[in-house]
């Protein structure tokens, strides 16, 4: 395995840095059900890390542990070298972890622009009275953050729907708006829960392009869950495979693809 302190160089020549987040012996139980059992893995700076596995394997639970929605009964989450104490989810968001959801969780009553602006909440410092009068800091802050949001909107090519209420958008665009909201937070670690679920080939290709561009241009570390194996094997630098809450494989896509346990549990064998 890799050394914890140093990075590595990927096949396409990108330099991957040190460990950003390390999960140590995480165990998560819901009553008698063990959703995650003693899983350890790490996420390195600048890499695209995939988590795969059959339905009910505990992938989404794992992402919820990282984003602080679930608190594991055992194990440690180490973020930037420090053990993370139990926190409320919004405090974890303030540390620079942003995510998208498997079932789109946008704010339906708001426009696309407002939705993306909510991603900037952690950067807003003006108080209630300044905002009530819309003077000084409140207005300046609004404009500054709007500029950053507009860059994200340009980047994801959703300029034309800026003012549209989110509820009116088709599924594929909603997914993209959700990614925009997460990106607007300029996260250190971006978590994507099935970003391509339910999309057609063209939309999937667009989404892949955006994920790669985000990683390439902003150097954002990305952890994603995805069921499309073609996508996962193409995009990711390293893959964790889960089954029934246990980790059954971890390594580069090639290593995982040839792992017998992974083939038995998830990938299967082609019959042609």
């Amino acid at each position: 395995m890799l050394d914890a302190s140093e990075g590595y160089v990927t096949a396409d020549g990108r330099k991957i840095g040190g460990v950003v987040m390390e999960m140590k012996n995480i165990t998560l139980r819901f009553g008698g059900v063990v959703a995650i059992k003693e899983i350890s893995f790490d996420i390195r700076e600048g890499e695209i890390r995939a988590i795969i596995g059959p339905n009910g394997a505990g992938k989404s639970s794992m992402l919820n542990v990282i984003s602080g929605f679930y608190v594991p009964q055992e194990g440690e989450v180490i973020f930037h070298g420090k053990k993370r104490p139990p926190m409320r989810p919004y405090e974890i968001a303030q540390q620079g972890i942003a995510r998208t959801f498997q079932n789109i969780a946008l704010f339906d009553g708001m426009s696309v622009l407002d939705n993306v602006m909510t991603g900037r909440l952690n950067y807003m410092k003006s108080n209630l009275f300044q905002q009530a009068l819309w003077r000084g800091k409140a207005e300046a802050e609004e404009t500054q953050n709007r500029e950053i949001v507009e860059k994200v909107i340009d980047f994801l090519e959703i300029q034309h729907i800026r003012k549209t209420p989110v509820a009116r958008l088709p599924y594929g665009l909603k997914k993209r708006v959700e990614l925009a909201r997460a990106l607007a937070a300029e996260p250190k670690l971006l978590l994507l829960d099935e970003p391509m679920a339910g999309m057609n080939v063209e939309e999937k290709e667009d989404m892949c392009r955006f994920i790669l561009d985000v990683n390439d241009e902003f150097g954002t570390t990305i952890a994603l869950i995805e069921h499309d194996m073609g996508v996962v094997m193409d995009l990711s630098d390293r893959v964790v495979v889960m089954d029934y809450g246990k980790k059954i494989g971890d390594g580069t896509p090639d290593e995982v693809r040839n792992n017998q346990e992974v083939i038995d549990a998830y990938l299967g064998v082609s019959h042609d």
Partner: protein, 358 residues
């Protein structure tokens, strides 16, 4: 034809996020403001002030306050009457304790006190939502009315248990008590309504408004993207309480003059303001105005129609009034569940394309 963005170019983000992005809207707004401030005070008489304009202005403030809580932040409240009573009694205590201080200060302070009370009763919202929260705020309604009935300190140990507004002024102009002139009370309330509407608009278009709406639309996702639910909900309760307190203070001091708490601020008041918000449109400042106007004007219009035009006996008209208002509310909710604000929005949408809709 003239109502559209074409040719109205925005060159900065400030221009894009202004209150009325369309030029025609902006001029219409200036015209309405000019009319309200420069024309009405000179033509107003006692009937217009007491029957229509004062209740409209005061209920509009209350509706804006409740709309922030229910429409923007999604926290259902049935305690509006009780919170208005807090504003009224706070204003009464302040007016009698500090007679020489300006009414503006009293009314603002009453709003502040109500905000604190409202936050205290908003604490359960951190654990419960929906119908359960409605029941919790209902408890606030009954508790507050009981408190103001039973603790004599609040009504200065007066024999009747009522509170009466003494004569107070703003810069020498009398705005409360029997000697206040119609134009003064009207302008006084109008200034507060303008202030409240501007503050509400500024808050709802900025960061705090977004956190409120995020909590309303999906509270779990909101927390995961970084909204502190405690802060968001309690600021909504505080701002809402501030506005409702102001309206309660004005309702007592400027409009009624004498108040018996169970009668003026009972549960029916809570429902009345909630109806205004629902009929006007949840999550819309304009809707708060429209709802207040609708429910204030409708009984007056029906009375004029029944008594003056058709010549029916007053008591029959009074009963018909209740039936018709009730039926119209039901009708409205079926035809346009999103309220008058949505009708207005659709009309504007159509106007923008008119006369070439394709």
């Amino acid at each position: 034809m003239f109502y559209r963005e074409a040719g109205d170019f925005k060159v900065s983000y400030q221009q894009d996020s202004q209150t009325f992005p369309i030029k025609f809207d902006r001029y219409r707004y200036y015209a309405v403001m000019a009319f309200a401030f420069l024309v009405i005070p000179f033509v107003i008489n006692d009937y217009w002030a007491n029957a229509i304009l004062l209740p409209f202005l005061i209920y509009a403030i209350a509706a804006i306050g409740l709309n922030i809580l229910v429409g923007y932040c999604g926290q259902v409240s049935l305690g509006t009457g009780g919170f208005m009573a807090v504003g009224a009694y706070a204003c009464y205590k302040l007016m009698t304790a500090f007679p020489e201080v300006s009414m503006i200060v009293h009314v603002l302070l009453s709003g502040g006190i109500t905000a604190i009370v409202c936050v205290a009763f908003g604490l359960p919202s951190l654990r419960i939502k929906g119908f359960y929260l409605a029941v919790a705020t209902l408890a606030a309604q009954f508790f507050l009315v009981w408190l103001f009935n039973r603790v004599p300190w609040f009504y200065n140990y007066s024999a009747s248990g009522q509170i009466n507004a003494p004569e107070r002024d703003v810069f020498g102009i009398i705005v409360t008590g029997p000697n206040a002139s119609a134009w003064a009370t009207y302008t006084f309330c109008l200034i507060f309504l303008t202030f409240c509407a501007l503050v509400a608009r500024n808050l709802t278009r900025g960061t705090i408004g977004r956190t409120w709406m995020a909590i309303r639309d999906m509270d779990i996702a909101a927390e995961i993207i970084g909204v502190n639910p405690l802060k968001a909900k309690l600021t909504a309760f505080a701002v809402s309480g501030f506005f409702i307190g102001i309206s309660g203070a004005l309702f007592f001091a400027v409009y009624l003059g004498a108040v018996e708490v169970g009668e003026a601020f009972g549960i029916t008041k809570s429902f009345l303001v909630l109806f205004m918000v629902i009929i006007g449109g949840l999550g819309s400042i304009f809707g708060s105005f429209a709802g207040a106007a609708f429910l204030v004007l409708l009984p007056v219009v029906l009375k004029v129609l029944g008594v003056d035009v058709l010549g029916w006996p007053t008591d029959i008209v009074a009963h018909f009034q209740l039936v018709i208002v009730g039926a119209l509310i039901v009708f409205f909710l079926i035809v346009e569940p999103h309220g008058l604000a949505q009708l207005w929005r659709v009309a504007k949408e159509k106007l923008r394309l008119w006369p070439f809709p394709h």
